[in-house]
Amino acid sequence: MYKIKNINKSYKDLKVLEDISIDFPKNKTICILGSSGCGKTTLLNILLGITNKDSGDIIGFEEDISVVFQEDRLIPWKNIKDNIKFVLKRKMEKEQIESIIDEYFELVNLQEYKYYYPKNISGGMRQKINILRAFLYPSNILIMDEPFKSLDINSKEVLINFFKDLRIIENKTCIIVTHDIDEAIALGHKIVILTDKPTMVKRVIESEGIKDKTELRILIEEELIIKK
C-alpha cells in the first residue's frame, strides 16, 4: 500500500492542501476528483517530488514513477519510437528496449506509427503515445494529471479504452487526477473527492464495489454539487 499522511502545503498565507491523507492500494486505479484549480496538481507535484510539502508523510513513492502529463511532452525532433527509447535508456539494455517497444506497439496495434514524428500525428494519437510511454517505463506507480483534458469526446473514449487495455497488460498502481466525473467512474477502483481551497479530503468512495454506475454518479454528484 502506498500512502500519504497529513500532507499540508501553503503558498505564503494561502493554505492549498490541508491534512490530506490517502491510501493507494497496490495495482488499483485511484481517481482524485476535484474542481479545477483546487490544488490537485500541487498534490501530484508533491508526490513526484517536484514541489516540497510543508508537513506530512509520503510512504512508498521513493521508487521510480511513470507520469502521464496533460500535454504529450514528446520531443519534436525524435520519432515516436525514439521518444520512448529516450526514457527507457537508463533502465534497460538496447536489445531489451527494442524488443519491448516492438512487442507493445504490436499489442496495441500502433506499429505503423513507430517512425512518425509528433507533428505528423493527431493530438489524440500523441496522448496515446504519452500513455504508452508511461506504461512501458518500468515502475509500479503511474501518475496521470488530467490526461484526457484537451481531447474531444470521441478521442477521450478511445483513450480511456486504450488505457484500460494497457492496464490489463501491465498492472500498475494508477493515480489519476481529474475534474471529470465520467473519467473517475470509468476508471477508478477508488474515488477520492477533494474540497475547494483549502483542499481537504471530503469523501473516499470504494467505487470498485459499486456495480450500479448511476448510483455511483449520484453519490459523487451529491458530494461535489449539493454539499458544496
Binding site: 517536484i50 521510480d64 507520469v67 502529463f69 511532452r73 525532433w77 529516450f86 537508463r90 517505463y137
Partner: protein
C-alpha cells in the same frame, strides 16, 4: 494558399523585371560607362571574368575564408554559449563583449584587423567578429529557452544528464542555429569580401572588386556584384535544402 504563393512568385518576377528596366533607364539617361554601365557591358565583363583561368581560384579562396571563419565562429559560439548557460560568471562576462562586438562599426573592426593580422587572415577575422555574436546568442537562446515541460518530463523519468544533453539540448541548439544559418553565412560572406577589399590578399573577390574600381571599370564592379549575389543565392538554396532534409520534414 496556392494562389497566394503564385501571387508572390508573380510579384517577385515583376520586381526583378522592374530592376532591369530601371537599370536600362538609368544607364541610358546617365550615358556614362564609368558612372553607370549598361547591361551589355556588364554582361561582357561578367563573361570575361568567368572565363579567366583564375576565376575558380579566386572564388574558392573567398569561399574557403568564409567557411573557415564561419566554422571557427560556430565552434566558439557553441562552446562559449554552453559555458555561459552553465556559469553565471561567464554569462555576465560575455554581455559587455557581445555588446561591444554588436555596436562597434564594421569599418573600425576591418581597420583593427588590418593592423593586427596579415592580409590572408584579416578578412576571416572580420567575418568572425560580425557573425560570432549572432551565433552565440542563438546558442544561448537554444539552451535557455528550451521547453521546460520536456526538461520536467526527463527529470520525472530520471533520464541521465548525458542523454539529456545529447538528445535534447544539442539538437535544440542546432535546430535554433539552422534557422539563422543562411543569413549568418550570408553576412559572413559579405564581411569577408569587405575585409578582402581592404586587405588585398592575392586571390580574393574583394581584391578584384577593388582592382576594377582602381581601373575605373565599373562594369567589372557590377559583374563581380552579380557573381557575389549568385553565390549568396546558391549558399541560401543549399542550406535551405539541407535544412529541409534534416529538420523541417520532421518538426
Amino acid at each position: 494558399m496556392k494562389s497566394f504563393t503564385l501571387k508572390n512568385r508573380r510579384l517577385s518576377v515583376i520586381s526583378k523585371l522592374l530592376i532591369i528596366v530601371l537599370w536600362i533607364l538609368l544607364s541610358r539617361t546617365i550615358d556614362n560607362e564609368v558612372i553607370f554601365p549598361t547591361i551589355s557591358s556588364t554582361f561582357h565583363s561578367f563573361t570575361d571574368i568567368v572565363r579567366r583561368p583564375s576565376f575558380i581560384i579566386i572564388i574558392s579562396h573567398s569561399l574557403i575564408r568564409t567557411l573557415i571563419g564561419f566554422v571557427i565562429s560556430l565552434v566558439l559560439a557553441v562552446i562559449i554559449g554552453i559555458l555561459s548557460s552553465i556559469s553565471n560568471i561567464i554569462y555576465h562576462l560575455m554581455i559587455p563583449i557581445i555588446n561591444f562586438l554588436t555596436s562597434v562599426p564594421t569599418m573600425a573592426i576591418i581597420i583593427l584587423a588590418l593592423i593586427w593580422l596579415n592580409n590572408e587572415f584579416a578578412p576571416m577575422f572580420v567575418g568572425f567578429i560580425m557573425v560570432f555574436p549572432i551565433l552565440y546568442e542563438t546558442v544561448l537562446k537554444g539552451i535557455l529557452d528550451l521547453d521546460s515541460n520536456i526538461i520536467d518530463m526527463a527529470k520525472v523519468y530520471k533520464v541521465q544528464k548525458m542523454t539529456l544533453i545529447k538528445d535534447v539540448y544539442i539538437p535544440n541548439i542546432f535546430l535554433n542555429l539552422s534557422y539563422i544559418f543562411p543569413s549568418a553565412l550570408g553576412i559572413n560572406f559579405k564581411m569577408v569580401i569587405a575585409g578582402e577589399a581592404l586587405s588585398q590578399p592575392k586571390y580574393a573577390i574583394g581584391t578584384n572588386l577593388q582592382l576594377q574600381k582602381m581601373y575605373l571599370n565599373t562594369s567589372g564592379v557590377f559583374a563581380w556584384i552579380i557573381i557575389i549575389l549568385l553565390m549568396s543565392k546558391i549558399f541560401k538554396y543549399v542550406l535551405e535544402g539541407v535544412n529541409h532534409l534534416c529538420i523541417k520534414s520532421k518538426i
